[in-house]
Amino acid sequence: MRLPWPAVVAGLLAALVGGAGLIRGATPQSAAAGPGPSAAPPIVVTNAWLRPPVPPTDSVAVYFTIYNTTGQPDTLESVVSGAGASAGLHYVIDGQMTATTSITVPAKANLALAPATGHVMISGLYGPIVAGQTINLELNFANAGPVDVAAKVIPLLAPAPGTVTTSGATK
Protein backbone atom coordinates (compact mmCIF):
# COMPACT_ATOMS: atom_id res chain seq x y z
CA MET A 1 0.00 0.00 0.00
CA ARG A 2 1.75 3.11 -1.20
CA LEU A 3 1.16 6.29 0.74
CA PRO A 4 -0.80 8.67 -1.49
CA TRP A 5 0.44 12.23 -1.48
CA PRO A 6 -2.80 13.65 -0.09
CA ALA A 7 -2.35 11.43 2.96
CA VAL A 8 1.23 12.54 3.36
CA VAL A 9 0.20 16.15 3.15
CA ALA A 10 -2.64 15.54 5.55
CA GLY A 11 -0.25 13.83 7.92
CA LEU A 12 2.17 16.71 7.66
CA LEU A 13 -0.60 19.19 8.30
CA ALA A 14 -1.76 17.17 11.27
CA ALA A 15 1.76 17.16 12.62
CA LEU A 16 2.06 20.89 12.05
CA VAL A 17 -1.17 21.47 13.86
CA GLY A 18 -0.01 19.12 16.55
CA GLY A 19 3.36 20.78 16.84
CA ALA A 20 1.93 24.29 16.92
CA GLY A 21 -1.49 23.89 18.40
CA LEU A 22 -1.34 21.05 20.87
CA ILE A 23 1.41 22.51 22.94
CA ARG A 24 -1.20 24.38 24.85
CA GLY A 25 -0.02 25.25 28.28
CA ALA A 26 3.49 24.14 27.51
CA THR A 27 6.52 26.36 27.46
CA PRO A 28 6.01 29.82 25.93
CA GLN A 29 8.78 29.20 23.43
CA SER A 30 6.39 27.17 21.35
CA ALA A 31 4.50 30.38 20.69
CA ALA A 32 7.51 31.43 18.67
CA ALA A 33 6.05 29.30 15.90
CA GLY A 34 3.55 32.13 15.47
CA PRO A 35 0.27 32.19 13.61
CA GLY A 36 1.60 33.06 10.15
CA PRO A 37 1.47 30.50 7.37
CA SER A 38 5.23 30.67 6.86
CA ALA A 39 6.12 29.99 10.46
CA ALA A 40 7.27 26.39 10.71
CA PRO A 41 7.58 24.82 14.14
CA PRO A 42 11.11 23.85 15.01
CA ILE A 43 10.26 20.16 15.17
CA VAL A 44 7.78 18.38 12.91
CA VAL A 45 6.84 14.78 13.65
CA THR A 46 5.17 12.70 10.95
CA ASN A 47 4.06 9.15 10.26
CA ALA A 48 3.61 8.15 13.90
CA TRP A 49 2.28 4.64 14.21
CA LEU A 50 2.33 1.45 16.24
CA ARG A 51 0.85 -2.01 16.17
CA PRO A 52 -1.39 -3.32 18.94
CA PRO A 53 0.55 -5.31 21.53
CA VAL A 54 0.62 -9.02 20.78
CA PRO A 55 -0.53 -11.00 23.81
CA PRO A 56 1.18 -11.65 26.15
CA THR A 57 3.31 -8.62 25.33
CA ASP A 58 2.70 -5.79 27.75
CA SER A 59 4.50 -3.14 25.77
CA VAL A 60 4.30 -1.43 22.40
CA ALA A 61 6.87 0.14 20.09
CA VAL A 62 5.93 3.50 18.57
CA TYR A 63 7.57 4.64 15.36
CA PHE A 64 7.72 8.09 13.79
CA THR A 65 9.87 10.48 11.81
CA ILE A 66 11.26 13.65 13.33
CA TYR A 67 12.12 16.61 11.12
CA ASN A 68 14.25 19.34 12.65
CA THR A 69 13.42 22.48 10.67
CA THR A 70 15.95 24.62 12.50
CA GLY A 71 19.57 25.30 11.71
CA GLN A 72 20.74 23.80 14.98
CA PRO A 73 20.81 20.17 16.13
CA ASP A 74 18.12 19.39 18.66
CA THR A 75 17.98 16.55 21.13
CA LEU A 76 15.01 14.43 22.09
CA GLU A 77 15.56 14.11 25.81
CA SER A 78 12.50 12.35 27.12
CA VAL A 79 9.14 10.93 26.20
CA VAL A 80 5.96 10.95 28.21
CA SER A 81 2.94 8.81 27.44
CA GLY A 82 -0.30 8.33 29.26
CA ALA A 83 -0.70 4.91 27.69
CA GLY A 84 1.59 3.05 30.04
CA ALA A 85 3.67 3.16 33.18
CA SER A 86 6.89 3.97 31.38
CA ALA A 87 8.09 5.24 28.04
CA GLY A 88 11.66 5.07 26.85
CA LEU A 89 13.83 5.62 23.82
CA HIS A 90 15.40 2.66 22.05
CA TYR A 91 17.78 3.21 19.18
CA VAL A 92 20.25 1.11 17.22
CA ILE A 93 23.71 2.27 18.22
CA ASP A 94 26.71 0.47 16.74
CA GLY A 95 24.46 -2.26 15.40
CA GLN A 96 22.55 -2.99 18.54
CA MET A 97 19.20 -1.83 19.83
CA THR A 98 20.02 0.13 22.93
CA ALA A 99 17.96 1.83 25.58
CA THR A 100 19.15 5.40 25.46
CA THR A 101 18.37 8.62 27.27
CA SER A 102 18.52 10.92 24.27
CA ILE A 103 18.57 11.07 20.49
CA THR A 104 19.97 14.02 18.58
CA VAL A 105 18.36 15.18 15.36
CA PRO A 106 20.81 17.03 13.10
CA ALA A 107 19.96 20.50 11.79
CA LYS A 108 17.58 20.59 8.83
CA ALA A 109 17.38 16.81 8.83
CA ASN A 110 15.04 13.88 9.25
CA LEU A 111 15.50 11.18 11.81
CA ALA A 112 13.29 8.13 11.45
CA LEU A 113 12.47 5.80 14.29
CA ALA A 114 11.52 2.72 12.28
CA PRO A 115 11.48 -1.03 12.97
CA ALA A 116 15.10 -1.33 11.83
CA THR A 117 16.39 1.73 13.65
CA GLY A 118 14.58 2.58 16.85
CA HIS A 119 11.34 3.27 18.65
CA VAL A 120 9.70 4.60 21.75
CA MET A 121 8.81 1.66 23.95
CA ILE A 122 5.81 2.07 26.20
CA SER A 123 5.62 -0.55 28.92
CA GLY A 124 3.14 -1.43 31.62
CA LEU A 125 0.19 -0.57 29.42
CA TYR A 126 -2.77 0.80 31.33
CA GLY A 127 -5.38 -0.66 29.03
CA PRO A 128 -6.06 -2.37 25.73
CA ILE A 129 -4.67 -0.76 22.61
CA VAL A 130 -6.59 -1.62 19.46
CA ALA A 131 -6.33 -0.76 15.80
CA GLY A 132 -7.97 2.53 14.89
CA GLN A 133 -7.08 4.23 18.15
CA THR A 134 -4.49 6.90 18.52
CA ILE A 135 -2.20 7.22 21.48
CA ASN A 136 -0.59 10.45 22.53
CA LEU A 137 3.05 11.06 23.26
CA GLU A 138 4.80 14.15 24.44
CA LEU A 139 8.32 14.38 23.07
CA ASN A 140 10.57 16.75 24.97
CA PHE A 141 13.33 18.40 22.98
CA ALA A 142 16.23 20.35 24.45
CA ASN A 143 15.64 23.36 22.20
CA ALA A 144 12.13 23.03 20.85
CA GLY A 145 10.54 22.01 24.12
CA PRO A 146 7.55 19.66 24.25
CA VAL A 147 5.97 18.39 21.04
CA ASP A 148 2.77 16.42 21.19
CA VAL A 149 2.35 13.49 18.83
CA ALA A 150 -0.73 11.39 18.06
CA ALA A 151 0.35 7.93 16.95
CA LYS A 152 -2.05 5.83 14.92
CA VAL A 153 -2.61 2.21 15.94
CA ILE A 154 -2.55 0.16 12.74
CA PRO A 155 -3.91 -3.40 12.45
CA LEU A 156 -1.46 -6.02 13.67
CA LEU A 157 -0.97 -7.58 10.25
CA ALA A 158 -1.14 -4.43 8.14
CA PRO A 159 1.90 -3.24 6.23
CA ALA A 160 4.02 -0.80 8.16
CA PRO A 161 3.27 2.72 6.92
CA GLY A 162 5.91 3.97 4.54
CA THR A 163 7.34 0.55 3.72
CA VAL A 164 8.08 -0.83 0.28
CA THR A 165 5.65 -3.48 -0.83
CA THR A 166 5.24 -5.52 -3.95
CA SER A 167 2.14 -4.82 -5.99
CA GLY A 168 0.76 -8.19 -4.98
CA ALA A 169 1.20 -7.44 -1.31
CA THR A 170 -1.33 -4.65 -1.30
CA LYS A 171 -4.58 -5.59 0.31
Binding site: V92, M97, A116, H119, T163
Partner: protein, 208 residues
Protein backbone atom coordinates in the same frame (compact mmCIF):
# COMPACT_ATOMS: atom_id res chain seq x y z
CA UNK B 1 37.71 -2.76 35.38
CA UNK B 2 39.21 -5.39 33.12
CA UNK B 3 36.19 -7.52 33.64
CA UNK B 4 33.93 -4.66 32.60
CA UNK B 5 35.96 -4.09 29.46
CA UNK B 6 35.83 -7.76 28.61
CA UNK B 7 32.10 -7.81 29.16
CA UNK B 8 31.64 -4.82 26.89
CA UNK B 9 33.85 -6.38 24.26
CA UNK B 10 31.93 -9.61 24.43
CA UNK B 11 28.67 -7.74 24.06
CA UNK B 12 30.01 -5.82 21.10
CA UNK B 13 31.43 -8.89 19.46
CA UNK B 14 28.17 -10.75 19.26
CA UNK B 15 26.32 -7.55 18.38
CA UNK B 16 23.25 -8.33 20.36
CA UNK B 17 20.40 -6.05 21.15
CA UNK B 18 19.43 -4.18 24.23
CA UNK B 19 15.75 -4.85 24.19
CA UNK B 20 14.93 -7.01 21.31
CA UNK B 21 16.74 -7.54 18.06
CA UNK B 22 20.06 -6.89 16.46
CA UNK B 23 21.81 -7.00 13.18
CA UNK B 24 24.45 -9.67 13.30
CA UNK B 25 26.99 -8.38 10.85
CA UNK B 26 26.59 -5.49 8.48
CA UNK B 27 24.05 -2.73 8.54
CA UNK B 28 20.61 -3.75 7.33
CA UNK B 29 20.63 -1.10 4.64
CA UNK B 30 23.74 -2.69 3.19
CA UNK B 31 22.34 -6.17 3.49
CA UNK B 32 19.13 -5.19 1.77
CA UNK B 33 20.74 -3.33 -1.03
CA UNK B 34 20.22 -6.13 -3.54
CA UNK B 35 23.98 -6.34 -3.81
CA UNK B 36 24.35 -9.60 -1.93
CA UNK B 37 25.37 -12.82 -3.56
CA UNK B 38 22.87 -14.56 -5.78
CA UNK B 39 19.44 -13.57 -6.98
CA UNK B 40 18.05 -12.74 -3.55
CA UNK B 41 16.53 -9.55 -2.22
CA UNK B 42 17.47 -10.63 1.30
CA UNK B 43 21.03 -10.99 2.49
CA UNK B 44 22.82 -13.76 0.62
CA UNK B 45 24.54 -16.39 2.73
CA UNK B 46 27.91 -17.49 1.43
CA UNK B 47 28.55 -20.31 1.91
CA UNK B 48 24.99 -21.60 2.20
CA UNK B 49 24.05 -22.97 5.61
CA UNK B 50 22.65 -26.50 5.80
CA UNK B 51 19.31 -27.00 7.49
CA UNK B 52 20.25 -27.61 11.11
CA UNK B 53 19.30 -30.64 13.15
CA UNK B 54 17.91 -29.95 16.60
CA UNK B 55 15.04 -31.32 18.61
CA UNK B 56 12.87 -29.10 20.78
CA UNK B 57 9.36 -29.26 22.19
CA UNK B 58 6.37 -27.93 20.25
CA UNK B 59 3.35 -26.18 21.75
CA UNK B 60 1.50 -29.50 21.97
CA UNK B 61 4.28 -30.80 24.21
CA UNK B 62 5.65 -33.15 21.57
CA UNK B 63 9.24 -33.48 20.47
CA UNK B 64 9.84 -31.66 17.20
CA UNK B 65 12.88 -32.60 15.19
CA UNK B 66 13.48 -29.52 13.10
CA UNK B 67 15.89 -31.07 10.62
CA UNK B 68 13.77 -34.14 9.96
CA UNK B 69 10.27 -32.70 10.15
CA UNK B 70 10.82 -29.65 7.99
CA UNK B 71 13.16 -31.37 5.50
CA UNK B 72 12.34 -30.58 1.90
CA UNK B 73 10.07 -27.68 2.84
CA UNK B 74 10.72 -23.98 2.41
CA UNK B 75 11.22 -22.99 6.03
CA UNK B 76 11.48 -19.65 7.80
CA UNK B 77 13.33 -19.96 11.12
CA UNK B 78 13.35 -17.23 13.76
CA UNK B 79 14.63 -17.02 17.31
CA UNK B 80 12.84 -14.49 19.51
CA UNK B 81 10.53 -14.10 22.47
CA UNK B 82 6.89 -13.27 22.90
CA UNK B 83 7.33 -10.21 25.13
CA UNK B 84 9.45 -8.63 22.38
CA UNK B 85 7.86 -5.27 21.56
CA UNK B 86 9.39 -4.49 18.21
CA UNK B 87 11.37 -6.76 15.89
CA UNK B 88 9.57 -10.02 16.65
CA UNK B 89 6.02 -8.82 15.95
CA UNK B 90 7.26 -6.71 13.02
CA UNK B 91 9.00 -9.71 11.51
CA UNK B 92 6.00 -11.98 11.92
CA UNK B 93 3.66 -9.32 10.53
CA UNK B 94 6.02 -9.10 7.55
CA UNK B 95 6.02 -12.88 7.13
CA UNK B 96 2.23 -12.87 7.17
CA UNK B 97 2.06 -10.22 4.46
CA UNK B 98 4.71 -11.91 2.34
CA UNK B 99 3.01 -15.30 2.53
CA UNK B 100 -0.28 -13.68 1.53
CA UNK B 101 1.27 -12.78 -1.82
CA UNK B 102 2.06 -16.43 -2.62
CA UNK B 103 -0.35 -18.90 -4.21
CA UNK B 104 -1.99 -21.20 -1.64
CA UNK B 105 -0.27 -24.23 -3.19
CA UNK B 106 3.09 -22.68 -2.34
CA UNK B 107 2.00 -21.47 1.09
CA UNK B 108 1.09 -25.05 1.97
CA UNK B 109 4.69 -26.14 1.57
CA UNK B 110 6.00 -23.51 3.95
CA UNK B 111 6.96 -23.98 7.59
CA UNK B 112 7.29 -20.90 9.79
CA UNK B 113 9.23 -21.88 12.90
CA UNK B 114 9.51 -19.67 15.98
CA UNK B 115 11.97 -20.74 18.65
CA UNK B 116 11.71 -18.89 21.93
CA UNK B 117 14.84 -17.47 23.50
CA UNK B 118 12.99 -16.78 26.75
CA UNK B 119 12.92 -20.21 28.33
CA UNK B 120 11.62 -18.85 31.60
CA UNK B 121 8.44 -17.07 30.50
CA UNK B 122 7.49 -18.54 27.15
CA UNK B 123 5.40 -21.56 28.01
CA UNK B 124 3.67 -23.67 25.39
CA UNK B 125 0.41 -21.83 26.02
CA UNK B 126 2.04 -18.42 25.71
CA UNK B 127 3.82 -19.28 22.48
CA UNK B 128 0.72 -20.84 20.97
CA UNK B 129 -1.35 -17.77 21.79
CA UNK B 130 1.31 -15.42 20.43
CA UNK B 131 1.66 -17.29 17.14
CA UNK B 132 -2.11 -17.45 16.69
CA UNK B 133 -2.06 -13.68 16.18
CA UNK B 134 0.00 -14.12 13.03
CA UNK B 135 -1.16 -17.50 11.74
CA UNK B 136 -4.36 -16.19 10.20
CA UNK B 137 -6.01 -16.95 6.91
CA UNK B 138 -3.05 -18.70 5.33
CA UNK B 139 -2.01 -22.23 4.56
CA UNK B 140 1.53 -22.26 5.94
CA UNK B 141 2.37 -24.39 8.96
CA UNK B 142 3.39 -22.40 12.02
CA UNK B 143 5.44 -24.17 14.67
CA UNK B 144 6.37 -22.76 18.07
CA UNK B 145 9.26 -24.41 19.87
CA UNK B 146 10.73 -24.26 23.34
CA UNK B 147 13.25 -26.16 25.41
CA UNK B 148 15.82 -25.95 28.15
CA UNK B 149 18.42 -23.21 27.98
CA UNK B 150 20.98 -25.77 26.85
CA UNK B 151 18.67 -26.99 24.09
CA UNK B 152 17.90 -23.48 22.90
CA UNK B 153 21.59 -22.60 22.90
CA UNK B 154 22.37 -25.73 20.92
CA UNK B 155 19.64 -24.89 18.40
CA UNK B 156 20.98 -21.37 17.90
CA UNK B 157 24.49 -22.68 17.49
CA UNK B 158 23.30 -25.26 14.96
CA UNK B 159 21.63 -22.49 12.98
CA UNK B 160 24.74 -20.27 13.19
CA UNK B 161 22.81 -17.66 15.17
CA UNK B 162 24.54 -15.68 17.95
CA UNK B 163 23.35 -16.94 21.30
CA UNK B 164 20.65 -14.83 22.91
CA UNK B 165 21.39 -13.21 26.25
CA UNK B 166 19.59 -11.34 29.02
CA UNK B 167 16.97 -14.01 29.50
CA UNK B 168 16.48 -14.23 25.77
CA UNK B 169 15.61 -10.58 25.34
CA UNK B 170 18.84 -9.78 23.56
CA UNK B 171 18.67 -11.90 20.47
CA UNK B 172 19.49 -12.01 16.79
CA UNK B 173 16.98 -10.44 14.41
CA UNK B 174 17.75 -12.89 11.61
CA UNK B 175 14.98 -14.69 9.77
CA UNK B 176 16.61 -17.63 8.02
CA UNK B 177 15.07 -19.14 4.90
CA UNK B 178 15.82 -22.78 4.11
CA UNK B 179 14.90 -24.10 0.70
CA UNK B 180 13.65 -27.43 -0.58
CA UNK B 181 17.30 -28.39 -1.03
CA UNK B 182 17.75 -28.01 2.75
CA UNK B 183 20.15 -25.12 2.55
CA UNK B 184 19.71 -21.51 3.63
CA UNK B 185 21.14 -19.25 0.97
CA UNK B 186 19.43 -16.09 2.19
CA UNK B 187 18.52 -14.47 5.49
CA UNK B 188 16.36 -11.46 6.27
CA UNK B 189 16.70 -8.63 8.73
CA UNK B 190 14.02 -6.20 9.79
CA UNK B 191 13.86 -3.42 7.23
CA UNK B 192 11.40 -1.33 5.31
CA UNK B 193 11.41 -3.79 2.43
CA UNK B 194 11.39 -7.06 4.35
CA UNK B 195 7.94 -8.03 3.03
CA UNK B 196 9.09 -7.49 -0.53
CA UNK B 197 12.30 -9.42 0.08
CA UNK B 198 10.58 -12.45 1.60
CA UNK B 199 7.86 -12.45 -1.06
CA UNK B 200 10.52 -12.33 -3.75
CA UNK B 201 12.95 -14.86 -2.34
CA UNK B 202 10.65 -17.53 -0.97
CA UNK B 203 9.41 -18.73 -4.39
CA UNK B 204 13.05 -18.99 -5.47
CA UNK B 205 13.70 -21.69 -2.90
CA UNK B 206 10.32 -23.44 -3.15
CA UNK B 207 9.35 -26.15 -5.57
CA UNK B 208 8.12 -24.78 -8.86
Amino acid sequence: MNRLVLTLLAAATVLLAGCSGSHPSAKPSELNDHTGAGPYFGAGLVPPQPRPSFTLTDTAGKAFSFGAQTAGHPTLLYFGYTQCPDVCPETFADVHQALATLPPSMQKQVYVVFVTTDVKHDTATVIKKWLSNFDLGGSATYVGLRGTQAQINAAQAAAHIPLAEDGGQTHSAQLLLYGTDDYARVTFLQSTNEVQAIAHDLPLVAKA
